[in-house]
Chain length 321, copies 2
Protein backbone atom coordinates (compact mmCIF):
# COMPACT_ATOMS: atom_id res chain seq x y z
CA UNK A 1 0.00 0.00 0.00
CA UNK A 2 1.39 3.34 -1.04
CA UNK A 3 1.94 5.81 1.74
CA UNK A 4 -0.03 9.04 1.41
CA UNK A 5 2.25 11.89 0.34
CA UNK A 6 3.06 14.34 3.07
CA UNK A 7 1.65 17.86 2.97
CA UNK A 8 4.52 20.12 1.92
CA UNK A 9 4.99 23.49 3.60
CA UNK A 10 7.47 26.17 2.63
CA UNK A 11 8.38 28.92 5.08
CA UNK A 12 8.99 32.59 4.31
CA UNK A 13 11.10 34.30 6.93
CA UNK A 14 13.64 32.79 9.30
CA UNK A 15 13.09 34.80 12.46
CA UNK A 16 12.10 33.69 15.94
CA UNK A 17 8.55 32.69 15.06
CA UNK A 18 9.63 30.45 12.17
CA UNK A 19 11.38 28.21 14.69
CA UNK A 20 8.16 27.62 16.58
CA UNK A 21 6.39 26.77 13.33
CA UNK A 22 9.10 24.33 12.23
CA UNK A 23 9.00 22.73 15.64
CA UNK A 24 5.21 22.33 15.39
CA UNK A 25 5.42 20.75 11.93
CA UNK A 26 7.95 18.26 13.27
CA UNK A 27 5.25 17.09 15.71
CA UNK A 28 2.78 16.28 12.90
CA UNK A 29 3.35 13.10 10.91
CA UNK A 30 1.28 14.16 7.92
CA UNK A 31 3.33 17.19 6.93
CA UNK A 32 6.83 18.42 6.39
CA UNK A 33 8.71 21.57 5.54
CA UNK A 34 10.54 21.25 2.28
CA UNK A 35 12.07 24.71 2.00
CA UNK A 36 12.67 27.96 3.83
CA UNK A 37 13.49 31.37 2.37
CA UNK A 38 14.89 34.52 3.90
CA UNK A 39 16.46 37.61 2.39
CA UNK A 40 19.37 36.58 4.59
CA UNK A 41 20.41 33.20 3.19
CA UNK A 42 22.57 32.46 6.23
CA UNK A 43 19.55 32.73 8.51
CA UNK A 44 17.51 30.50 6.21
CA UNK A 45 20.29 27.91 6.13
CA UNK A 46 20.59 27.99 9.90
CA UNK A 47 16.90 27.18 10.39
CA UNK A 48 17.04 24.61 7.57
CA UNK A 49 19.94 22.88 9.27
CA UNK A 50 18.30 22.92 12.68
CA UNK A 51 15.04 21.38 11.44
CA UNK A 52 16.37 19.18 8.64
CA UNK A 53 14.76 21.25 5.87
CA UNK A 54 16.09 20.24 2.46
CA UNK A 55 16.29 23.62 0.74
CA UNK A 56 17.17 27.18 1.77
CA UNK A 57 16.59 30.20 -0.49
CA UNK A 58 17.32 33.90 -0.48
CA UNK A 59 14.53 34.48 -2.99
CA UNK A 60 10.92 33.98 -1.94
CA UNK A 61 9.79 33.74 -5.55
CA UNK A 62 12.45 31.26 -6.58
CA UNK A 63 11.36 29.05 -3.71
CA UNK A 64 7.76 29.12 -4.97
CA UNK A 65 8.86 28.34 -8.52
CA UNK A 66 11.20 25.51 -7.57
CA UNK A 67 9.29 23.92 -4.71
CA UNK A 68 5.64 24.35 -5.64
CA UNK A 69 4.68 23.82 -1.96
CA UNK A 70 1.18 22.81 -0.86
CA UNK A 71 1.13 25.91 1.32
CA UNK A 72 3.40 28.70 2.48
CA UNK A 73 3.76 29.94 6.03
CA UNK A 74 4.54 33.67 5.99
CA UNK A 75 6.47 34.47 9.16
CA UNK A 76 8.15 37.77 8.28
CA UNK A 77 7.31 41.07 9.98
CA UNK A 78 3.88 42.59 9.33
CA UNK A 79 5.11 45.22 6.89
CA UNK A 80 6.05 42.51 4.36
CA UNK A 81 2.94 40.31 4.65
CA UNK A 82 0.97 41.92 1.86
CA UNK A 83 3.70 41.68 -0.78
CA UNK A 84 4.47 38.06 0.05
CA UNK A 85 0.79 37.12 0.20
CA UNK A 86 0.31 38.63 -3.26
CA UNK A 87 3.40 36.82 -4.50
CA UNK A 88 1.93 33.53 -3.28
CA UNK A 89 -1.39 34.35 -4.96
CA UNK A 90 0.50 35.04 -8.18
CA UNK A 91 1.96 31.55 -7.89
CA UNK A 92 -1.37 29.94 -6.94
CA UNK A 93 -0.01 28.99 -3.54
CA UNK A 94 -2.17 28.76 -0.39
CA UNK A 95 -1.00 30.77 2.61
CA UNK A 96 -0.98 30.75 6.36
CA UNK A 97 0.18 34.23 7.34
CA UNK A 98 1.38 35.41 10.75
CA UNK A 99 -0.81 37.84 12.63
CA UNK A 100 -1.46 40.65 12.16
CA UNK A 101 -1.92 39.47 8.59
CA UNK A 102 -2.39 42.96 7.16
CA UNK A 103 -1.82 46.55 8.14
CA UNK A 104 -4.97 47.89 6.52
CA UNK A 105 -8.34 46.88 5.10
CA UNK A 106 -7.07 47.82 1.67
CA UNK A 107 -4.31 45.18 1.83
CA UNK A 108 -6.74 42.58 3.18
CA UNK A 109 -9.37 43.22 0.52
CA UNK A 110 -6.83 42.86 -2.23
CA UNK A 111 -5.43 39.53 -1.07
CA UNK A 112 -8.81 38.03 -0.18
CA UNK A 113 -10.24 39.08 -3.55
CA UNK A 114 -7.46 37.13 -5.22
CA UNK A 115 -8.04 34.23 -2.84
CA UNK A 116 -11.72 34.09 -3.78
CA UNK A 117 -11.27 34.69 -7.50
CA UNK A 118 -8.50 32.13 -7.85
CA UNK A 119 -9.85 29.71 -5.24
CA UNK A 120 -6.65 29.79 -3.17
CA UNK A 121 -6.73 29.19 0.56
CA UNK A 122 -5.65 32.08 2.81
CA UNK A 123 -5.72 32.25 6.59
CA UNK A 124 -4.32 34.43 9.32
CA UNK A 125 -2.24 32.48 11.83
CA UNK A 126 -4.59 33.17 14.75
CA UNK A 127 -3.39 30.01 16.44
CA UNK A 128 -4.87 30.83 19.85
CA UNK A 129 -8.42 30.17 18.62
CA UNK A 130 -7.51 26.51 18.23
CA UNK A 131 -6.06 26.10 21.71
CA UNK A 132 -7.91 23.55 23.85
CA UNK A 133 -8.45 25.94 26.78
CA UNK A 134 -10.00 28.57 24.51
CA UNK A 135 -12.19 25.88 22.94
CA UNK A 136 -13.23 24.72 26.41
CA UNK A 137 -14.12 28.27 27.42
CA UNK A 138 -16.25 28.73 24.32
CA UNK A 139 -17.94 25.39 24.95
CA UNK A 140 -18.88 26.51 28.47
CA UNK A 141 -20.33 29.69 27.00
CA UNK A 142 -22.30 27.78 24.36
CA UNK A 143 -23.60 25.39 27.00
CA UNK A 144 -24.94 28.38 28.89
CA UNK A 145 -22.83 27.70 31.98
CA UNK A 146 -22.54 31.40 32.77
CA UNK A 147 -26.01 32.33 31.49
CA UNK A 148 -26.41 35.31 29.19
CA UNK A 149 -23.18 37.15 28.48
CA UNK A 150 -23.17 40.65 29.91
CA UNK A 151 -19.57 41.80 29.55
CA UNK A 152 -16.33 40.61 28.04
CA UNK A 153 -12.85 41.93 28.50
CA UNK A 154 -9.44 41.07 27.19
CA UNK A 155 -6.26 42.57 28.56
CA UNK A 156 -2.88 41.97 27.03
CA UNK A 157 0.31 43.87 27.58
CA UNK A 158 3.97 43.96 28.44
CA UNK A 159 6.74 46.47 28.51
CA UNK A 160 8.38 46.31 25.12
CA UNK A 161 12.00 47.37 24.97
CA UNK A 162 11.95 51.09 24.20
CA UNK A 163 13.93 50.89 20.98
CA UNK A 164 12.44 52.74 18.01
CA UNK A 165 14.20 50.30 15.68
CA UNK A 166 12.75 47.05 17.01
CA UNK A 167 9.74 45.25 15.60
CA UNK A 168 7.45 46.67 18.29
CA UNK A 169 8.15 50.33 17.67
CA UNK A 170 9.55 50.56 14.15
CA UNK A 171 6.86 51.61 11.68
CA UNK A 172 8.97 50.25 8.81
CA UNK A 173 8.67 46.78 10.31
CA UNK A 174 4.94 47.15 10.86
CA UNK A 175 5.43 47.97 14.53
CA UNK A 176 2.47 48.81 16.73
CA UNK A 177 0.53 47.28 19.61
CA UNK A 178 -2.52 46.83 17.39
CA UNK A 179 -0.70 44.52 14.97
CA UNK A 180 1.22 42.65 17.61
CA UNK A 181 -1.24 42.08 20.44
CA UNK A 182 -4.55 43.91 20.01
CA UNK A 183 -5.30 41.51 17.16
CA UNK A 184 -5.29 38.64 19.67
CA UNK A 185 -7.60 40.49 22.02
CA UNK A 186 -10.10 41.31 19.29
CA UNK A 187 -10.18 37.90 17.65
CA UNK A 188 -10.25 35.80 20.79
CA UNK A 189 -12.85 37.86 22.64
CA UNK A 190 -15.21 38.21 19.69
CA UNK A 191 -14.85 34.50 18.96
CA UNK A 192 -15.63 33.58 22.55
CA UNK A 193 -18.64 35.86 22.71
CA UNK A 194 -19.80 34.61 19.32
CA UNK A 195 -22.07 37.57 18.60
CA UNK A 196 -21.78 40.13 15.81
CA UNK A 197 -19.88 43.31 16.62
CA UNK A 198 -22.29 46.19 16.08
CA UNK A 199 -20.06 49.06 17.04
CA UNK A 200 -16.40 49.71 17.71
CA UNK A 201 -14.68 52.63 19.32
CA UNK A 202 -10.92 53.01 19.63
CA UNK A 203 -8.52 55.24 21.50
CA UNK A 204 -4.78 54.92 21.18
CA UNK A 205 -1.60 56.52 22.44
CA UNK A 206 1.15 56.88 19.85
CA UNK A 207 4.93 57.17 19.92
CA UNK A 208 6.68 60.14 18.34
CA UNK A 209 7.04 57.97 15.24
CA UNK A 210 3.27 57.61 15.13
CA UNK A 211 3.24 53.98 16.25
CA UNK A 212 0.41 52.94 18.59
CA UNK A 213 1.77 51.82 21.95
CA UNK A 214 -1.48 51.52 23.92
CA UNK A 215 -4.94 50.79 22.52
CA UNK A 216 -8.29 50.66 24.22
CA UNK A 217 -11.21 49.33 22.21
CA UNK A 218 -14.87 49.22 23.14
CA UNK A 219 -16.99 46.64 21.38
CA UNK A 220 -20.74 46.77 21.16
CA UNK A 221 -22.53 43.44 20.81
CA UNK A 222 -26.32 43.01 20.53
CA UNK A 223 -26.81 42.77 24.28
CA UNK A 224 -23.42 43.11 25.91
CA UNK A 225 -20.19 45.05 25.72
CA UNK A 226 -16.57 44.18 25.29
CA UNK A 227 -13.46 46.09 26.20
CA UNK A 228 -9.96 45.37 24.97
CA UNK A 229 -6.76 46.78 26.37
CA UNK A 230 -3.47 46.22 24.58
CA UNK A 231 -0.26 47.92 25.59
CA UNK A 232 3.49 47.90 25.04
CA UNK A 233 3.88 50.03 28.12
CA UNK A 234 2.78 47.96 31.08
CA UNK A 235 3.54 44.50 32.36
CA UNK A 236 -0.01 43.46 33.08
CA UNK A 237 1.13 40.35 34.91
CA UNK A 238 -1.80 38.63 36.64
CA UNK A 239 -4.13 41.16 35.05
CA UNK A 240 -3.29 39.84 31.60
CA UNK A 241 -6.40 37.77 31.06
CA UNK A 242 -9.70 37.41 29.29
CA UNK A 243 -12.86 37.43 31.36
CA UNK A 244 -16.36 36.78 30.08
CA UNK A 245 -19.08 37.68 32.55
CA UNK A 246 -22.57 36.28 32.38
CA UNK A 247 -25.81 36.43 34.30
CA UNK A 248 -24.86 33.29 36.25
CA UNK A 249 -21.08 33.51 36.54
CA UNK A 250 -17.86 34.18 34.72
CA UNK A 251 -15.05 32.52 32.83
CA UNK A 252 -11.48 33.65 33.38
CA UNK A 253 -8.67 32.76 30.98
CA UNK A 254 -5.22 33.79 32.25
CA UNK A 255 -2.85 35.03 29.52
CA UNK A 256 -5.56 34.13 27.04
CA UNK A 257 -3.47 34.40 23.87
CA UNK A 258 -1.10 31.62 24.86
CA UNK A 259 -2.44 30.12 28.08
CA UNK A 260 -3.32 26.58 29.02
CA UNK A 261 -6.03 27.19 31.58
CA UNK A 262 -9.55 28.42 31.89
CA UNK A 263 -11.60 28.83 35.03
CA UNK A 264 -15.36 28.64 35.38
CA UNK A 265 -17.10 30.43 38.22
CA UNK A 266 -20.79 29.70 38.51
CA UNK A 267 -22.67 31.31 41.34
CA UNK A 268 -23.35 28.91 44.17
CA UNK A 269 -20.97 26.30 42.76
CA UNK A 270 -17.34 25.43 43.36
CA UNK A 271 -15.01 27.05 40.80
CA UNK A 272 -13.75 24.72 38.09
CA UNK A 273 -10.24 25.04 36.65
CA UNK A 274 -9.66 23.30 33.34
CA UNK A 275 -6.06 22.61 32.37
CA UNK A 276 -4.68 21.68 28.99
CA UNK A 277 -2.00 19.10 29.71
CA UNK A 278 -1.57 17.74 26.20
CA UNK A 279 -0.44 20.68 24.09
CA UNK A 280 3.29 20.70 23.41
CA UNK A 281 3.34 23.36 20.71
CA UNK A 282 0.22 25.47 20.26
CA UNK A 283 0.85 26.00 16.54
CA UNK A 284 0.03 22.36 15.79
CA UNK A 285 -3.74 22.93 15.70
CA UNK A 286 -3.70 25.80 13.21
CA UNK A 287 -1.39 23.78 10.96
CA UNK A 288 -3.82 20.86 11.06
CA UNK A 289 -6.62 23.31 10.21
CA UNK A 290 -4.70 24.58 7.18
CA UNK A 291 -4.09 21.06 5.86
CA UNK A 292 -7.64 19.98 6.48
CA UNK A 293 -9.16 23.06 4.79
CA UNK A 294 -6.90 22.75 1.76
CA UNK A 295 -7.62 19.04 1.45
CA UNK A 296 -11.33 19.85 1.44
CA UNK A 297 -10.74 22.47 -1.26
CA UNK A 298 -11.79 25.38 0.92
CA UNK A 299 -10.42 28.88 0.53
CA UNK A 300 -10.86 29.90 4.14
CA UNK A 301 -11.08 28.48 7.64
CA UNK A 302 -14.45 28.64 9.38
CA UNK A 303 -12.64 29.43 12.64
CA UNK A 304 -10.45 32.20 11.19
CA UNK A 305 -12.46 33.29 8.14
CA UNK A 306 -11.38 36.14 5.88
CA UNK A 307 -14.07 38.25 7.49
CA UNK A 308 -12.34 38.04 10.88
CA UNK A 309 -9.12 39.36 9.38
CA UNK A 310 -11.08 42.02 7.49
CA UNK A 311 -12.58 43.26 10.75
CA UNK A 312 -9.24 43.63 12.51
CA UNK A 313 -7.83 45.29 9.40
CA UNK A 314 -10.68 47.82 9.56
CA UNK A 315 -9.84 48.31 13.23
CA UNK A 316 -6.23 49.10 12.29
CA UNK A 317 -7.55 51.64 9.80
CA UNK A 318 -9.40 53.33 12.67
CA UNK A 319 -6.19 53.46 14.71
CA UNK A 320 -4.16 54.77 11.79
CA UNK A 321 -6.78 56.88 10.04
CA UNK B 1 -13.36 79.21 78.62
CA UNK B 2 -16.38 78.89 76.36
CA UNK B 3 -16.56 75.69 74.35
CA UNK B 4 -16.57 76.17 70.61
CA UNK B 5 -20.05 75.61 69.18
CA UNK B 6 -20.44 72.36 67.30
CA UNK B 7 -20.89 72.37 63.54
CA UNK B 8 -24.56 71.63 62.92
CA UNK B 9 -25.58 69.31 60.09
CA UNK B 10 -29.10 68.59 58.92
CA UNK B 11 -29.83 65.52 56.83
CA UNK B 12 -32.23 65.24 53.90
CA UNK B 13 -33.38 61.69 53.28
CA UNK B 14 -33.59 58.80 55.73
CA UNK B 15 -32.55 55.85 53.59
CA UNK B 16 -29.69 53.41 54.01
CA UNK B 17 -26.92 55.88 53.26
CA UNK B 18 -28.16 58.42 55.84
CA UNK B 19 -27.39 55.87 58.55
CA UNK B 20 -23.76 55.68 57.53
CA UNK B 21 -23.53 59.48 57.54
CA UNK B 22 -25.11 59.76 61.00
CA UNK B 23 -22.76 57.10 62.27
CA UNK B 24 -19.77 59.00 60.87
CA UNK B 25 -20.87 62.29 62.47
CA UNK B 26 -21.16 60.50 65.81
CA UNK B 27 -17.43 59.72 65.51
CA UNK B 28 -16.47 63.41 65.16
CA UNK B 29 -16.49 65.55 68.30
CA UNK B 30 -16.74 68.86 66.50
CA UNK B 31 -20.07 68.28 64.80
CA UNK B 32 -23.56 67.03 65.35
CA UNK B 33 -26.76 66.37 63.46
CA UNK B 34 -29.56 68.54 64.70
CA UNK B 35 -32.34 67.48 62.35
CA UNK B 36 -33.35 64.98 59.70
CA UNK B 37 -36.11 65.26 57.11
CA UNK B 38 -37.82 62.71 54.93
CA UNK B 39 -41.05 62.77 52.98
CA UNK B 40 -41.85 59.78 55.17
CA UNK B 41 -41.88 61.23 58.69
CA UNK B 42 -41.82 57.77 60.26
CA UNK B 43 -38.53 57.00 58.55
CA UNK B 44 -37.06 60.33 59.65
CA UNK B 45 -38.16 59.71 63.23
CA UNK B 46 -36.66 56.23 63.18
CA UNK B 47 -33.23 57.53 62.17
CA UNK B 48 -33.56 60.45 64.60
CA UNK B 49 -34.29 58.05 67.42
CA UNK B 50 -31.45 55.72 66.51
CA UNK B 51 -28.84 58.50 66.41
CA UNK B 52 -30.24 60.85 69.07
CA UNK B 53 -31.16 63.57 66.56
CA UNK B 54 -33.35 66.22 68.17
CA UNK B 55 -35.75 66.99 65.32
CA UNK B 56 -37.45 65.04 62.54
CA UNK B 57 -39.34 66.68 59.67
CA UNK B 58 -41.48 65.65 56.75
CA UNK B 59 -40.72 68.96 55.01
CA UNK B 60 -37.22 69.66 53.74
CA UNK B 61 -37.92 73.38 53.53
CA UNK B 62 -39.42 73.63 56.99
CA UNK B 63 -36.30 71.99 58.36
CA UNK B 64 -34.12 74.61 56.66
CA UNK B 65 -36.30 77.44 57.98
CA UNK B 66 -36.47 76.14 61.54
CA UNK B 67 -32.98 74.74 61.96
CA UNK B 68 -30.74 77.02 59.91
CA UNK B 69 -28.08 74.29 59.83
CA UNK B 70 -24.41 75.01 59.06
CA UNK B 71 -24.68 72.49 56.23
CA UNK B 72 -27.09 69.97 54.79
CA UNK B 73 -26.25 66.44 53.75
CA UNK B 74 -28.45 65.42 50.82
CA UNK B 75 -28.81 61.65 50.90
CA UNK B 76 -31.93 61.09 48.80
CA UNK B 77 -31.89 59.30 45.43
CA UNK B 78 -30.17 61.04 42.52
CA UNK B 79 -33.37 62.17 40.83
CA UNK B 80 -34.13 64.52 43.74
CA UNK B 81 -30.64 66.01 44.24
CA UNK B 82 -31.10 69.00 41.98
CA UNK B 83 -34.34 70.22 43.54
CA UNK B 84 -33.02 69.86 47.07
CA UNK B 85 -29.69 71.46 46.19
CA UNK B 86 -31.56 74.44 44.73
CA UNK B 87 -33.77 74.57 47.82
CA UNK B 88 -30.67 74.75 50.01
CA UNK B 89 -29.22 77.48 47.79
CA UNK B 90 -32.49 79.41 48.15
CA UNK B 91 -32.00 79.20 51.91
CA UNK B 92 -28.30 80.09 51.76
CA UNK B 93 -27.36 76.68 53.13
CA UNK B 94 -24.11 74.85 52.24
CA UNK B 95 -24.49 71.33 50.90
CA UNK B 96 -22.75 68.00 50.81
CA UNK B 97 -24.66 65.97 48.25
CA UNK B 98 -24.52 62.22 47.64
CA UNK B 99 -22.97 61.02 44.43
CA UNK B 100 -23.87 61.17 41.66
CA UNK B 101 -24.68 64.75 42.61
CA UNK B 102 -26.47 65.54 39.34
CA UNK B 103 -27.97 63.73 36.39
CA UNK B 104 -26.85 66.25 33.79
CA UNK B 105 -24.47 69.13 33.17
CA UNK B 106 -27.44 71.45 33.03
CA UNK B 107 -28.40 70.65 36.65
CA UNK B 108 -24.78 70.97 37.77
CA UNK B 109 -24.24 74.32 36.07
CA UNK B 110 -27.34 75.74 37.64
CA UNK B 111 -26.48 74.77 41.21
CA UNK B 112 -22.80 75.71 40.93
CA UNK B 113 -23.71 79.09 39.44
CA UNK B 114 -25.82 79.76 42.52
CA UNK B 115 -23.03 78.47 44.74
CA UNK B 116 -20.55 80.90 43.18
CA UNK B 117 -22.88 83.88 42.97
CA UNK B 118 -24.11 83.50 46.53
CA UNK B 119 -20.82 82.23 47.96
CA UNK B 120 -22.36 79.03 49.32
CA UNK B 121 -20.31 75.88 49.70
CA UNK B 122 -21.34 72.88 47.58
CA UNK B 123 -19.60 69.53 47.28
CA UNK B 124 -20.34 66.09 45.92
CA UNK B 125 -19.95 63.37 48.53
CA UNK B 126 -17.07 61.66 46.74
CA UNK B 127 -15.87 60.26 50.04
CA UNK B 128 -13.48 57.71 48.53
CA UNK B 129 -11.01 60.43 47.49
CA UNK B 130 -10.34 61.09 51.17
CA UNK B 131 -9.68 57.47 52.10
CA UNK B 132 -6.16 56.86 53.43
CA UNK B 133 -5.39 54.04 50.97
CA UNK B 134 -6.38 56.20 48.00
CA UNK B 135 -4.25 59.04 49.41
CA UNK B 136 -1.34 56.63 49.84
CA UNK B 137 -1.68 55.44 46.25
CA UNK B 138 -1.67 59.00 44.97
CA UNK B 139 1.36 59.81 47.10
CA UNK B 140 3.24 56.87 45.57
CA UNK B 141 2.33 58.17 42.13
CA UNK B 142 3.45 61.72 42.98
CA UNK B 143 6.70 60.39 44.41
CA UNK B 144 7.35 58.71 41.07
CA UNK B 145 7.44 55.22 42.57
CA UNK B 146 6.01 53.69 39.39
CA UNK B 147 7.70 56.10 37.00
CA UNK B 148 5.68 57.74 34.25
CA UNK B 149 2.07 56.65 34.15
CA UNK B 150 1.24 54.70 31.02
CA UNK B 151 -2.22 53.27 31.68
CA UNK B 152 -4.93 53.45 34.29
CA UNK B 153 -7.98 51.31 34.73
CA UNK B 154 -10.87 51.19 37.12
CA UNK B 155 -13.34 48.34 37.22
CA UNK B 156 -16.42 48.37 39.38
CA UNK B 157 -19.46 46.17 39.17
CA UNK B 158 -21.92 43.84 40.76
CA UNK B 159 -25.12 42.11 39.83
CA UNK B 160 -27.90 44.44 40.85
CA UNK B 161 -31.23 42.83 41.60
CA UNK B 162 -33.14 42.81 38.30
CA UNK B 163 -36.09 44.85 39.50
CA UNK B 164 -37.09 47.77 37.27
CA UNK B 165 -38.52 49.55 40.31
CA UNK B 166 -35.38 49.60 42.47
CA UNK B 167 -32.94 52.48 42.71
CA UNK B 168 -30.51 50.80 40.31
CA UNK B 169 -32.89 50.35 37.40
CA UNK B 170 -35.72 52.81 37.96
CA UNK B 171 -35.22 55.95 35.86
CA UNK B 172 -37.63 57.86 38.13
CA UNK B 173 -35.21 57.33 41.02
CA UNK B 174 -32.23 58.36 38.94
CA UNK B 175 -31.24 54.74 38.34
CA UNK B 176 -28.27 53.88 36.14
CA UNK B 177 -24.78 52.46 36.50
CA UNK B 178 -23.25 55.80 35.55
CA UNK B 179 -24.81 57.62 38.50
CA UNK B 180 -24.28 54.83 40.97
CA UNK B 181 -20.82 53.47 40.25
CA UNK B 182 -19.22 54.92 37.11
CA UNK B 183 -18.94 58.22 38.97
CA UNK B 184 -16.56 56.54 41.43
CA UNK B 185 -14.46 55.09 38.64
CA UNK B 186 -14.13 58.41 36.84
CA UNK B 187 -13.39 60.55 39.87
CA UNK B 188 -10.98 58.21 41.60
CA UNK B 189 -8.97 57.28 38.52
CA UNK B 190 -8.66 60.83 37.20
CA UNK B 191 -7.71 62.04 40.67
CA UNK B 192 -5.04 59.36 41.01
CA UNK B 193 -3.59 60.07 37.58
CA UNK B 194 -3.73 63.80 38.26
CA UNK B 195 -3.57 64.83 34.61
CA UNK B 196 -6.18 66.69 32.57
CA UNK B 197 -8.63 64.55 30.62
CA UNK B 198 -8.23 65.49 26.97
CA UNK B 199 -10.75 63.16 25.43
CA UNK B 200 -13.55 60.87 26.54
CA UNK B 201 -15.38 58.15 24.69
CA UNK B 202 -18.31 56.20 26.10
CA UNK B 203 -20.25 53.10 25.18
CA UNK B 204 -23.17 51.86 27.22
CA UNK B 205 -25.74 49.08 27.25
CA UNK B 206 -29.23 50.14 28.29
CA UNK B 207 -32.25 48.41 29.79
CA UNK B 208 -35.61 48.50 28.02
CA UNK B 209 -36.42 51.50 30.20
CA UNK B 210 -33.38 53.27 28.77
CA UNK B 211 -31.29 52.99 31.93
CA UNK B 212 -27.57 52.32 31.46
CA UNK B 213 -26.57 48.99 32.98
CA UNK B 214 -23.02 48.70 31.67
CA UNK B 215 -20.67 51.54 30.76
CA UNK B 216 -17.22 51.49 29.26
CA UNK B 217 -15.32 54.76 29.15
CA UNK B 218 -12.00 55.52 27.51
CA UNK B 219 -10.08 58.47 28.86
CA UNK B 220 -7.33 60.23 27.00
CA UNK B 221 -4.67 61.94 29.13
CA UNK B 222 -1.68 63.88 27.76
CA UNK B 223 0.54 60.81 27.62
CA UNK B 224 -1.48 57.87 28.85
CA UNK B 225 -4.90 56.30 28.64
CA UNK B 226 -7.54 55.31 31.11
CA UNK B 227 -10.34 52.81 30.84
CA UNK B 228 -13.33 52.55 33.14
CA UNK B 229 -15.77 49.68 33.33
CA UNK B 230 -18.91 49.97 35.42
CA UNK B 231 -21.66 47.39 35.38
CA UNK B 232 -24.81 46.29 37.16
CA UNK B 233 -24.60 42.99 35.37
CA UNK B 234 -21.48 41.23 36.59
CA UNK B 235 -20.01 40.45 39.97
CA UNK B 236 -16.47 41.51 39.20
CA UNK B 237 -15.19 40.01 42.44
CA UNK B 238 -11.38 40.05 42.54
CA UNK B 239 -11.38 41.96 39.27
CA UNK B 240 -13.07 44.91 40.93
CA UNK B 241 -10.03 47.12 41.33
CA UNK B 242 -8.14 50.15 40.16
CA UNK B 243 -4.73 49.65 38.61
CA UNK B 244 -2.33 52.39 37.61
CA UNK B 245 0.55 51.20 35.46
CA UNK B 246 3.77 53.10 35.08
CA UNK B 247 7.12 52.75 33.38
CA UNK B 248 8.61 51.23 36.55
CA UNK B 249 5.73 49.31 38.09
CA UNK B 250 2.10 49.43 39.05
CA UNK B 251 -0.26 50.23 41.89
CA UNK B 252 -3.25 48.01 42.54
CA UNK B 253 -6.18 49.11 44.71
CA UNK B 254 -8.69 46.33 45.36
CA UNK B 255 -12.33 47.50 45.44
CA UNK B 256 -11.01 51.01 45.07
CA UNK B 257 -14.22 52.87 45.90
CA UNK B 258 -14.41 51.52 49.43
CA UNK B 259 -11.23 49.55 50.02
CA UNK B 260 -8.62 49.76 52.72
CA UNK B 261 -5.58 48.53 50.85
CA UNK B 262 -3.23 49.51 48.11
CA UNK B 263 -0.34 47.53 46.70
CA UNK B 264 2.82 48.84 45.10
CA UNK B 265 4.73 46.73 42.62
CA UNK B 266 8.04 48.18 41.53
CA UNK B 267 10.13 46.16 39.15
CA UNK B 268 12.99 44.42 40.88
CA UNK B 269 11.61 45.16 44.34
CA UNK B 270 9.44 43.25 46.77
CA UNK B 271 5.74 44.21 46.50
CA UNK B 272 4.49 46.53 49.23
CA UNK B 273 0.97 46.24 50.62
CA UNK B 274 -0.29 49.26 52.54
CA UNK B 275 -3.24 48.72 54.86
CA UNK B 276 -5.49 51.31 56.42
CA UNK B 277 -6.13 50.03 59.93
CA UNK B 278 -7.52 53.21 61.44
CA UNK B 279 -10.63 54.03 59.43
CA UNK B 280 -13.85 53.04 61.17
CA UNK B 281 -16.29 54.89 58.92
CA UNK B 282 -14.97 56.21 55.62
CA UNK B 283 -17.41 59.13 55.55
CA UNK B 284 -15.58 60.85 58.42
CA UNK B 285 -12.94 62.42 56.17
CA UNK B 286 -15.34 64.05 53.72
CA UNK B 287 -17.33 65.45 56.64
CA UNK B 288 -14.16 66.96 58.10
CA UNK B 289 -13.42 68.42 54.66
CA UNK B 290 -16.86 70.04 54.51
CA UNK B 291 -16.45 71.63 57.95
CA UNK B 292 -12.95 72.80 57.23
CA UNK B 293 -13.85 74.34 53.85
CA UNK B 294 -16.89 76.13 55.28
CA UNK B 295 -14.90 77.44 58.23
CA UNK B 296 -12.37 78.86 55.78
CA UNK B 297 -15.20 80.49 53.83
CA UNK B 298 -14.61 78.45 50.70
CA UNK B 299 -17.34 77.53 48.26
CA UNK B 300 -15.74 74.33 47.04
CA UNK B 301 -13.33 71.60 48.09
CA UNK B 302 -9.98 71.46 46.33
CA UNK B 303 -10.20 67.65 46.37
CA UNK B 304 -13.75 67.48 44.98
CA UNK B 305 -14.08 70.81 43.17
CA UNK B 306 -17.18 71.82 41.22
CA UNK B 307 -15.24 71.13 38.06
CA UNK B 308 -14.91 67.43 38.95
CA UNK B 309 -18.67 67.14 39.33
CA UNK B 310 -19.16 69.13 36.11
CA UNK B 311 -17.01 66.64 34.23
CA UNK B 312 -18.94 63.59 35.39
CA UNK B 313 -22.19 65.43 34.67
CA UNK B 314 -20.98 66.01 31.11
CA UNK B 315 -20.13 62.31 30.95
CA UNK B 316 -23.70 61.45 31.96
CA UNK B 317 -24.92 63.72 29.17
CA UNK B 318 -22.87 61.65 26.73
CA UNK B 319 -24.46 58.46 28.05
CA UNK B 320 -27.96 59.92 27.93
CA UNK B 321 -27.65 62.16 24.89
Amino acid sequence: MEEKAKFRFAVMGAGHISHKFCDAVSLIDECEITAIASRDLKKARKVAHKYGIAAAYDSYEQMLIDEKPDAVYISVTTNAHYDLAMLCMAHDTPILCEKAMFRSACEAEDVFRHSKEQGIFAMEAMWSLFLPNIRQARQWIEEGKIGDITLGRFDIGFQAEKNPKNRFYNPDLGGGACYDILVYAYDILTWLIGQPVQGTSVQAVYTNDGVDKTDIVQLEFPDCMGVLTATFEANLGDQEQAVVYGSRGKIVIPHAHHGKECCLYVEGEEPVTWKDDKTINGFVYEIQEVMSCIERGEIESSTVPHEMTMRTSLLFDKIYE
